[in-house]
Symmetry: C2
Subunit: 153 residues, 2 copies
């Protein structure tokens, strides 16, 4: 199996994101419509977390401009398929780095200096849940400075 280097140009990373989305949709019998694909493209191309209304602005070129429900529906769809994540504390969205399965929770490291987000798998086993608590979904977001920004100071 040929392995690509971890760091690739944006266009390759972006193309792979779309290709992955195609596969996921095919597997699950869902439709990656032009609108959904477009929204995913915008999220994937954006440099860091992007807000719903920024996407809305980008979709508002020409007549027939997109309205909020259009964008939120596409975002909901992409989240349902695990193709993007919502960054709760930033009210923003990022493309999923898909280093994990659909249903697992991602663990996000968000650099407050450069805005970059690093996504890791969240270990399924919760170290210390309250007795009997059954976790169905977790939000795990770490804020701080990434290695590069720490060194730049």
């Amino acid at each position: 199996m040929i392995m690509f280097p971890i760091v690739m140009s944006d266009s390759h990373a972006y193309a792979e994101t779309i290709a992955h989305a195609e596969r996921v949709c095919a597997d699950r019998g869902e439709r990656l419509t032009p609108l959904r694909r477009h929204v995913l493209e915008l999220v994937a191309r954006s440099d860091g977390p992007v807000k719903a209304y920024d996407l809305l602005d980008q979709l508002k070129t020409g007549p027939g401009a997109a309205k909020p429900p259009t964008v939120y529906r596409a975002l909901d769809f992409l989240m349902r398929l695990g193709l993007i994540h919502r960054v709760e504390a930033l009210k923003s969205f990022i493309a999923c780095a898909h280093g994990h399965g659909h249903e697992e929770s991602a663990e996000l490291y968000i650099c407050e200096s450069c805005g970059r987000v690093d996504e890791q798998d969240h270990p399924d086993a919760d170290p210390s849940p309250p007795s009997g608590f059954a976790v169905s979904r977790s939000v795990i977001e770490h804020y701080g400075q990434c290695g590069d920004c720490v060194n730049d100071r």
Copy 2:
């Protein structure tokens, strides 16, 4: 060191929350003004996470009703002192169970059936941060069903 039992009656828990706030403010040279105390009371007395505009409604009795900035400023103050937490994915607030220090992050278990929130200390040591990442603050929220609600099914 004397340890209080975890479970206490609501009224005691509430009184203790206020007393704790008094101590924290005294320690840090901050003022627990009547407004701030009132907001903390409302958050502490509420059964589960409470929204800013619900607090606003509760503060809107009589003329001179509170406006949004009033509530948000009080909430910001209380968060800065670690007396309350914002539950990001619910856009809501809860009183801190103060089982941890000011600066540490809480780990929340939120029951989607009964609304109860259980707060645990978050272990400081992050198991798997990206190389060089310095975490300053973490948002950790687990959603699911608490032991009681799992059994009730």
